[in-house]
């Protein structure tokens, strides 16, 4: 590996001049620049990024903490982060926590050891450990998708979860579906609470209440959606529609309903949340809330970039708009049972 010294010898200049010729060409004379470039060519020189990082004290890398890369929603967010990061000259260190606190801490530590300049968290862990607090006060940090608590106290980029759930619920009510059930994610998750609140908003406005028995808890996996649907069907009165808090649980629920011989949407309507790619390819197509996943990622990265530059954020809380996507899985129920 050739170094800047070798190049400087070759070009008959000092190392500083080589450095300048490469990073601030306007500072050296055209003649010297030419010679340096020539020497760089001959030596096959590439500045050692490790040395640059060390010298500047920056890693030009940031960590993305995600519970599961294989989750199609998260992986889209990551794509957005990655694109923006590349544009900012930052590398993305993947931190798949697999829901484990110790793994999460191991990755978070990268922020404290200068291995990463910042951190985007996609899942929400609660409460903070002492080390987390140290981290949060030292290392630029942005939460995307899942605000951890309210008020957050740190930058958050998220969807208007409450509004989205309200709109989706309203859509169901507009179809005259009033006996609603819901498959939630983990009860302690803030987005679950926000979406539940949105749902209540719409129900209350219509003079309705959510039957506590019509609430089943899942964990955002397809299997859990399947199981939760089964549980809901055991109610004395079958719900007219099930609102699932993500598309995967909706897909699981659809599978369950089919296996029970129920037609969608004639017997029971289904709605999801996220608008993952598959939602357009289920049979019938899945009504859902479109989350601009890539956008979420981009915005989070842009905010983090600001912080890493030492600049203050214009707004601590960025809320992105949702969009209701109506497909065939929701419609007024045709034959009353």
């Amino acid at each position: 590996m050739s170094t800047i010294r070798i190049v400087s010898k070759l070009a008959g200049v000092s190392t500083a001049t080589v450095s300048r010729a490469l990073k601030n060409p306007q500072l050296v004379s055209p003649d010297t620049r030419q010679r340096v470039m020539q020497a760089v060519q001959t030596a096959g020189y590439r500045p050692n990024q490790l040395a640059r990082n060390f010298s500047s004290g920056k890693a030009y890398a940031m960590v993305v903490l995600v519970p599961n890369v294989a989750n199609p929603f998260f992986s889209r967010v990551i794509r957005g982060i990655e694109q923006e990061a590349q544009a900012c000259g930052y590398a993305v260190l993947l931190g798949d926590t697999q829901g484990s606190v110790s793994r999460e801490q191991e990755y978070a530590r990268m922020g404290l050891t200068s291995q990463a300049d910042g951190l985007i968290q996609l899942d929400s862990r609660y409460p903070f450990s002492d080390e987390d607090r140290e981290l949060a006060s030292t290392v630029p940090f942005v939460n995307a998708c899942e605000r951890i608590a309210e008020p957050a106290g740190y930058p958050v980029v998220e969807l208007d979860n409450r509004g989205a759930a309200r709109a989706l619920t309203q859509h169901l009510l507009d179809l005259n579906l009033t006996r609603l059930a819901v498959i939630t994610g983990p009860a302690n998750s803030p987005i679950v609470r926000a979406r539940l609140a949105g749902m209540q908003d719409a129900l209350l406005a219509a003079g309705l209440m959510l039957n506590p028995a019509a609430l089943a808890e899942g964990n955002f996996s397809m299997q859990s959606g399947h199981d939760a649907a089964l549980q809901l069907l055991q109610q004395s009165e079958r719900p007219q529609a099930i609102f699932c808090m993500n598309d995967e649980m909706a897909i699981g629920a659809m599978r369950c309903l089919r296996q029970q011989g129920l037609r969608i949407p004639q017997d029971i309507a289904i709605a999801g949340f996220d608008n993952i790619e598959y939602a357009a390819f289920t049979e019938p197509g899945l009504t859902t809330i479109d989350q601009p996943a890539e956008q979420l990622g981009r915005q989070a990265m842009r905010a983090l970039y600001q912080l890493m530059q030492g600049k203050p954020l214009a707004q601590q809380h960025i809320v992105l708009p949702y969009q209701l996507v109506v497909r065939d899985s929701t419609a007024a129920i045709t034959d009353k049972k």
Copy 2:
């Protein structure tokens, strides 16, 4: 940020002793160790990883080149890589190339600038540029899932694609489905060629030939599967079964068939490849080839680790076993049209 020097002052020892106390505790006396640890505590000292990396000339990071993180198969492979990497003490730099050569090169360059110690490539690009050649000869490199050419000339971890396609085709033939169609990926992809060869193996053994008109090219996306299926249905004789070279195209094809009023598998059978999570939740469940995606990732990372340690590889070509997963999307056709 406190440094090793600050700690050494605090403990009244030299920096070397602090370093030893932390990395080789058995080399310092219990007494000194105690004092050093105390000082580390008080100072809140953490060794600067950037300095370590620089000093050792290693980044303790590797790049994963992937055409699209949001692809559920790749993201599972990445999960496997990530797990193994963490176990090896390596960080994973995400390189989503989005199919762009320039992005791929930008990430590959990380290997040449010591920002990464190695590289795993999940997609297959061809041919190599000069820079790639320099890279390949300098930076440890493993290809996973998609061998680029035959013989490879570099380490490859992959599934027995040919055998898997043969087994899946045999399964269809065993169901008395002889009029087969296939939806492939891009024709120049080596895995597509391998799978096609496996299909031919089974057909030839049964004294059959693949009708060239029964071959449609997709790009591994659901939409392309949908479109390809439409194209295949326009043949004079409707195929009895469609073998799709990944599950997503199969899902797209299923959607298409449904929209055409065809029943699966009664009118037409469908098979996929990969066994992504969704394959178990389609209606009907999708018959497919299970690729041990996480395993692929782990093995690739393990091989790369060997290379990064400067050790030779026991085998250049690691072939993982497939498994045929039969679900309801394939069955003997009941009513002949």
